[in-house]
Subunit: 114 residues, 2 copies
Amino acid sequence: MSTVYEKHARIFKAFCDEKRLRILELLRGGEKCACVLLEQLELGQPGLSYHMKILVESGIVESRQEGKWTHYKISEKGSAYAGNLLKELTKPNAVTEEKTAAKSKSNSIIEGEA
Amino acid sequence: MSTVYEKHARIFKAFCDEKRLRILELLRGGEKCACVLLEQLELGQPGLSYHMKILVESGIVESRQEGKWTHYKISEKGSAYAGNLLKELTKPNAVTEEKTAAKSKSNSIIEGEA
DNA sequence: ATATCACATTGAATAATTTTGATATGAGGT
DNA sequence: ACCTCATATCAAAATTATTCAATGTGATAT
């Protein structure tokens, strides 16, 4: 079973780890091959692979295969989504309590939210 | 030694855990006493205290003492800071590579960033 | 002063994440 | 086919985060 909380937590995990923040900083300079990231970071190859997987699964980073190489870059779409989600998650919501039976059309990006 | 990465990671830890996302959701409905949060969550009292500490340390939540009670609410300032930080961390930065010696006046919220 | 209530802290137990070394996979090149 | 190179995956170990029970603290009430 996967809750909406799990899904949201997965997105922010991208930003919860020092190594991943370092990687994102490098990717701010533009798309980079794993091999380039590897030489800039104090990380073994499986370690980098592990963190890249988390970053890609969060949607913050996109990967692109080119022959033997994997190129990574920051996803504009994923980043925008995360930014909006953070806003939503901290925005006052007067009706949080009353989970009314009558469901209204929603314009929230949070699944299952009225 | 505390790096800027650690500091940033600490902020986003608020959003990396299901329980904390649940708590934030409750706080979106307005300021709440720990005792109220406790009855809405599947968490023991020390567990709540543990998570509230992380939330307060992240700056996303503020606490206010009132006699025996502790009231918590989402910090507008902290939330805005986190939102802006997320944007910065995912914003393209053409000059990430060239850590030039000549330091220019910065308008970045990221410490030590040009 | 003692008692109680609300919450914080501690420490041990458990669970999740991260690191590391070994091995697997898949794309080229010879 | 075989060999390399780049990266992914696996499994064990190391580290870190979370839970839980017990105890501590500080505020109020009697």
